[in-house]
Amino acid sequence: MKYIYSKRSFLFFLTVAFLSILIFLFSMGLPVEGIFYWLLLIYWLGIVIIFKKGSGFGFKLVIIFYILAILISLFNFVNASELIMRVMFIGLIVSIPQAFLEFLKAQESK
């Protein structure tokens, strides 16, 4: 939670919110749900870059979201579990390439 309330995070969130208003105003033709995922991707990337988080952090979040989605799907909340799965997928989109970059770095330092 500290990330959400930190100053840098707040400024970052403001930037993202500003971006989203620009998207809405200039009719970029994206459905609202699509915009939400793009913003989430930017937000996730922002957190990783600003707070210098490793891929392990992302993967752990991914697994938490995944287990959460499984639990929700057990109660037949199909759409809610799919939404969380998509958030988890965004986590994978950030964390897997990040793991690759970390691997390259480790190779170079060997």
């Binding site: 793009w38 697994i63 988890m88």
Partner: protein, 1160 residues
Amino acid sequence: MIQKIYKHLNILIVLISAFVLVSIWFKNGNIMGAGESGLPFYDFNIEYELQKTAWFKHALGGPTSVIIASTPSYFVLKNLQNLGIPAFLMQAAFFWICLVVSGISIYKLCKELFPEINERFLLLSVFFYWFNPISLVNVWNRFLNNYFLFFAFLPLSLYFFIRGIKTGSYNYCVIFVIISSFFSYVYSSMAFNILLWYTIFFAAIFYITVQKNIKHKIFVLVYFLTFFSLWVLTNLWWITQILGYISSPTFSAATQSFFTNAGNFEGFSTISEKLGRITDILAFRHSSFYMDSKLAWFEIYNLAFIKLLNLLISLVVLMGILLGRKRSGVVFLSLYSLVALFLIKGNNFPFGELISWLFINIPAYQLFRNPFEKFGFLLVLGFTPLFVYGAYSLTNLLKRNSLVYLTCALVIIIIWGFPFWTGLVFTTNFTPMNDPYVKYEVVVPPEYKQASKWLLSQPGDFKLIVLPLFEEGVTYNWEKGFNGIDLTNQVLPVQSVSFNTTVPFYYDVASDIQKVFLENDKFYPLMNALNAKYVLVREDINWQQRKMINPQKITEVLEKRALNGEFKKVATFGKLTFWENLHYKPSEIYSANNLAVISPKPLAGDITATDSASVYLSEQAGQYISGEESISKIYPEKRLIIIEFNQERYASQHIFPYVSTYPDSKKYPLVLIKEKIQKLFIADLRKKIDFELQLLGKRLKESDKEANDKNSKLLFASLEKYFEIIEDYKKLYKEYFSSVPQSQKEDVQLQQAEIFYKHILILSDLEKAYKENPQVVLRITSHITELKKILADLEIYPHNELFISESFPLKTRLIYQYQIQSEGEYKLLIKDQNILRNFQINNNQMFIQINERLESIVPQWTEGGFLYLGTHFLKKGENEISFNSFESKNLVKGSDFDMKATASEFVKRLPIDNLITDRKYDISFNYLIKKGNGPVVSLYNDNSIPLGNEKTPEALIEIRPDYYDFDKKYFGFSTGNLYGATSSDLVFILRPWKSCGNFLLPDQEWCKDNRRSISFDRQSEVEINNVLVTEQFTETPYLEKVESPAQQSKPPEIRYIKIDNTKYEIAVKNAGENFVLILSQLYDAGWSLKNQNGERVGQGPFLANVFSNGWIVNQPGSYRLILEYEPQNRLETTAKISAVILAALVFWLLWNKKESLFKK
């Protein structure tokens, strides 16, 4: 020895498991087949003959293209079959090889990437790869041979590539290329070629990036390029065939005629939405496969517990990624799987926009219209080693070795494996494959072998026409039957026209053959044009399930035609009966001088000439001969319909929605912003158009209000906005209309015409409101004119203002648009024997509008069954001819009756007279519900699927009582096309009013027992009046030039020798100045006519006789010609290059092996 066996125990388990599986699947000694694959294992000789050359000898022929890649496999299989090996054993061996290769390859790949993993974990990879539910649906249940091979070949290729890089040995590269020649069947799908090279390219890029040393980076690059170049060279023979096909006019005709980008994209989006949910993908679920299934075993996989287990398997994969993210193998596979996951979900959220962009802008991406099916291969390949690694890592982490392993093994081998160990994986929803005792097993009746033998004993090179004929799918009622593509060309050794499909030119013939057979006076002219000697009537098909015509009706027509000396029954084999065309003249290749040019192109029904020297040409081909003057018949390019729509203003909410804020309100600018934002969030094209139409209706309502307030400034402001929206609408509608299938275009045009008809009514009323102000009237009139022009350009309205008067009211006005090359007098004719049966055509005067003038004519019947609608002067260019549709007779008797249902249901059947197959009918009646329920209205056709003693009703409509308006009401609907039906009853059913539930509301279950609830039933009573069943007028009036073209001289005598499917030697004797040479194979620009020196002769090929190839030859005298399909030359040359390179590689490999032995 025991140690050696133990060392290879896993391989032994793979071999034995594969053997056990195929033994279970083929225990009955039958071959299997389903769906699109047909029955290639039935007779490899036929299969090989079909595709051994660049010309595919299937139906009317066509380019073999990418399918040629499977020819070497069929050559080997054919020779094995000729040694006497039973077909089922060969199919079992094929499956065993696929299982073993896929199993060992994935095992080796896992070992290569994760050498430290325990052997028993590695074994899990084999069963994971075989039995996972994605492969179950996409590979095993799909049952396509090239899918099986790709499933085996993909891990093998990746293994060889990675192994080669890791060992630095080019031997693996060479072995891959040699093995890939044995797997050439894989390449018969372009999508698989792309996926294969995407996988290897992905691995190459990864290993180039992760290599530290520049030398190693260069090695990987060179290795990849060698891998690719050798593959290209050894596969040059089929690659050049594809490239040739893609660049040919045939390919562009195929893609433009039946597929549109918008249509493909719509299909892609629908599939993505259905199958692209991440929850389903990670649970390995093809959701519609399991959800729509009616089979009991599928239900197991719909259980929440099983879904949970599947999701947990993916959790193991994710844990593998988390725990092994510092390992090269895990990083590579997780990147590869991430891309696969991104692609498999199609354009679903998140980031589906990127995939949509790729789909729209990269034509090749349209090969992946079903992303789940194609990218599923990649996901499974990526997930299998990750799962094994995850399970291994978890075991180490939890330190409870056996529990994790046993749980994983139980899920994969028992739960996932259940349909495989039982053979149920080869069952599906459709009969007869839904029977677990039949599965995909097929037993072709012996009469097919007898029929084949008889056909081969008949002299000449002829084709068959097989009736009844409908679409590609056929269900055979055999002991162990088949449900899938039509099998005739695979089970009989003769080219057969037995199905209809969307292949250019073939479709034009096949879609009309049955109609011509049933309706034309003579069928043999069309048969002769097709070089068809026999009609085969098949009674072994489930014609009702496939909405085909009853085979007995075909036999009845043939018996009638036999009385006229047109046909003769010549052979019967079980349920197959052959009828000989008694006017047959061999016409695989023939010469013609009697030319009929038809604009824009002839239809199959036009081929009516009884002499053997006639040819029918399209307007385009006709220009080779003698220009526009020779055109004998002109069909309309388009038909528009405008009907007398309900004139009530603002009647429909969807045309004129409610408006609460008008332009004079201060809130109005906000309304406009709200509309813009609303529009922004509509992604679907059709919904966007509907929204635009609603906005147009709103602007008109606003205009109307301003006109009433006499505020002309705001009136014109609203009209300006109306036309701004029209500009947007124009773009969207054009895009949408191009994606609408031809069969639905008329319905779409009619819907739009209704909306704009009402718009024009409102605009005309505005004119009236300002009649005292001519300036305003003039502006409104110019707006109406502008709107009509836009509508004409969009093919919604005619170009010419329609005449409407009391003597010529607008009822159902049919507007035909003709393109005329030269002005002059033209006869307007309709040819149809049935028109008199169902339409009231008398000798009264009728009006016909020709462009901007009105003419009055008296319809007359002429010789040969033509309805003559006068001779008219037409200008060069586009001409519009319009008249009101002929009034159809009422096809039912007894149109007024009362219905009363007290204790049981009341049924009233009204047989429909003169029902003609493949037509549409309008049904309407008035009804008054006096008591209880409303009637259920349906059609019982003769080809509806039997349901007990009855039939499954078609077009079932239940009319419910209205609890507010108790008056008499009108009800009407259109039947759509009654495919294959030759008789039908309109059935009204009235059921007693069930009031049990009303009394016993808390106990609805109690009421389900009819014996108890009957005492609560009350009488239903309905009055029906004025039942009308009328046929829709679908005949096409055509124009005929008053002067008839001059007859030509006698054509030369033609003899030919067929060298093979792609080459004919022709001897021409006594040719005059010029003649047309016809080849009765499907039109393809690859055919070329040459003299003996190899120089091209004549002009052509052009499209002749609707489907075939024609050349105009202007060389008098007697001489020899060669007719050949040019891609075959390319095939032969490139096959030699590929063979030499392959031989060199084998030699190199053996030499290397020898060298290394010596070194040892």
